[in-house]
Amino acid sequence: MTSPFEYAPAPESRSIVDIKPSYGLFIDGEFVDGHGKAFKTISPATEEVLAEVAEASEADVAKAVKAARKAYDKVWGPMPGRERAKYLYRIARIIQERGRELAVLESLDNGKPIKESRDVDIPTVAAHFFYYAGWADKLEHSGFGSTPLGVAGQVIPWNFPLLMLAWKIAPALACGNTVVLKPAETTPLTALLFAEICQQADLPAGVVNIVTGAGETGRALVSHPDVDKVAFTGSTDVGRAIAKAVAGSDKKVTLELGGKAANIVFDDAPIDQAVEGIVNGIFFNQGHVCCAGSRLLVQESVAEEVLDRLKRRMSTLRVGDPLDKNTDVGAINSAEQLARIRELSDIGEQEGAGRWSPACDLPSNGFWFPPTLFTGVTQAHRIAREEIFGPVLSVLTFRTPSEAVEKANNTPYGLSAGVWTDKGSRILHMANQLRAGVVWANTFNKFDPTSPFGGYKESGYGREGGRHGLEAYLR
């Protein structure tokens, strides 16, 4: 598009981050060498190597768990809630102070636009620590008891690296647990910077431990016998494996898995905002969102109009350098993920759905996929059933509210759903009927530390956020 008003490059400076050439593991308050096979983390936008990262071996994991246990027994467990609270407040404050640095690092390592990491991810991270800090000395009001579980083993994904860390660590610590956390192998850097922040906050050694690595490290962590609580966010497949692995043990477990959310647009929806909600629902964070509105269910009578407006709106999305402040859609996180998105999109075409993307100038280096939509999709298509985890929207139609409910619920997943209509009673009716842990009405992808998040069915169990988020970490 050659508008006379071309936005010049508006890069956020990288100079604020100081990425070390290599990183160790953070165990018992210090950075130490790992004994696995070190690996590299790259920028998915340029494929440049950002740093070398240690892999935690089984022995390293055991060492971390031991440090966490010691800290729990001797320091953190006995500590009064009001003191734990103040540590968490410190961490929250430092996150605010170093917010720009964290945002730039997140965009570099993950590929998401700086606009999002700066305006959404990092502020929400700080807010989560603030929120849970305030629970630490009020647990008797939680409704879930006030005794912690002990040591939590936590494994998080690559789509919202620091935010997922906050969702795991903040409530665990507030309740008096200590943690060993494994960030995703493609996005370890903000977790490692978080470890530095824990040091700046004088957090007692062993309360937070970060063990970097991939699948093996994760397996070692969740199956370690001295871990009392397992928290996992990631794919349903791995979640299933974890559920099996902890069967018969005393380990408590919460899982936050995949989704294939229906975003339902009725004929009386506030149409321009609905289009924004559709775009936000599937193209925010490149569609790497478990609760993404990846199935648009549009009422047949307005389908054409909605699609026309949607395509027009998609044509104004700017895909490109994550560090450019005007970028709306960043890079796909890894070559593997890009391959999967491509594969499923090809399947969508083969199965007869109509594929459309706006014209996009994609860089030659890095992992990129244009915002894409498929029309004429039905429940029988694979792209309507399988989670693509990319900027790909499948468009289906419906005639009546009950048909919308039926189609929306006709999935093994149940994480989230969207409803767009001007009618209040219909919003509440749909919310009642939808088998999803989060229902967004006339909005989408809204997150708040006070608001519980989690799924039905194969999207996992347990809730993160809000008072309900305490339940997983208390007895």
């Binding site: 603030f130 800090a133 305030g134 629970w135 000395d137 409704g143 009673s425 219909r426 008072r467």
Partner: protein
């Protein structure tokens, strides 16, 4: 020759500013040993009237802020208090006659109490509110809302910890307050108001009148634009407390009665001091296609 210090003038805190009493009156404040410290402003009924106006003006904005924002501000107040800890310790020693180490514990408790209340801002709704399973196709939700302008008679003996313990619970949920500080020990309250003025607390959210609860109390208790009354500061003064409660009844103010004696401020306050100044709003909406 020893250096002469520049003495502070102790004024009122109304609408974010530090005016003297419009009456021009002041009164002698001595330290715990009876030595002269300052002539503090003696608040008049007109000052009280102005403070209520300021509090009312601030209420819409303060209650309209997100809970997160109010929490951040109260936490900021705690930060600034912590920064000025030596000054507060000195103020408590001077006013209450405590030893330095006891005063330090009191100040630490006051700061921690503020932090504790800050953390309630975005949680009280989750604890006292909730959906109600009515017997019909209706969505039904109860949420707490701040009642409005609260007149507070602050404790006479515990001039800092007690003060914080009656102010924080009222404002954290969005109310605005007019406070009459301890008569004999007003100076920590004045220092506290200086902290408020530099901590992003909007003007008018907290107004502090140094003066007499017996003189100012009736004007606040009878004021038709005050929504609630906290009588903690006249603990044990049953006749006065009863009179004020009678005056408050004219516009059905919510009254938090005077205890028989000033409470032990180190105990867990519970949620009572917050819920005393909250209204519960219940909303219904049909569920249907």
């Amino acid at each position: 020759m020893t250096r002469l210090d520049v003495r502070k003038t102790y004024k009122l805190y109304i609408g974010g500013a530090f005016p003297r009493s419009e009456s021009g009156h002041s009164y002698v404040v001595n330290d715990s040993k009876g030595a002269f410290v300052a002539n503090a402003s003696l608040a008049s009924r007109k000052d009280a009237r102005d403070a209520v106006t300021a509090a009312r003006k601030a209420f819409g904005g303060w209650s309209g802020r997100t809970a997160y924002n109010r929490a951040q501000i109260l936490y900021r107040v705690a930060e600034i208090m912590e920064d000025r800890r030596p000054q507060f310790v000195q103020a408590v020693v001077q006013s209450e006659g405590l030893s330095a180490s006891k005063a330090e514990r009191v100040v630490d408790e006051a700061i921690d109490r503020l932090v504790w209340y800050a953390g309630w801002a975005d949680k009280i709704t989750q604890v006292v509110g909730g959906a109600n399973p009515v017997a019909g196709p209706f969505f039904n939700l109860s949420t707490p809302e701040p009642t409005g302008v609260v007149a507070v008679l602050a404790p006479q003996a515990s001039s800092l910890l007690g003060l914080v313990s009656v102010v924080a619970p009222a404002i954290v949920t969005g109310n605005t307050v007019v406070v009459v500080s301890s008569y004999e020990r007003p100076l920590p309250a004045v220092t506290f108001s200086e902290v408020l003025a530099t901590s992003d607390v909007p003007g008018g959210v907290v107004n502090i009148l140094t003066g007499s609860a017996a003189t100012i109390g009736p004007w606040l208790a009878g004021h038709m634009d005050v929504n609630a009354l906290d009588l903690t500061g006249i603990a044990g003064q049953t006749a006065l407390a009863t009179d004020l409660e009678v005056a408050a009844a004219d516009n059905l103010k919510r009254v938090r009665r005077a205890p028989a004696a000033e409470p032990d401020w180190t105990l867990d306050p519970g949620t009572g001091a917050m819920t005393a100044f909250l209204e519960t709003k219940t909303v219904w909406h049909p569920i249907g296609v």
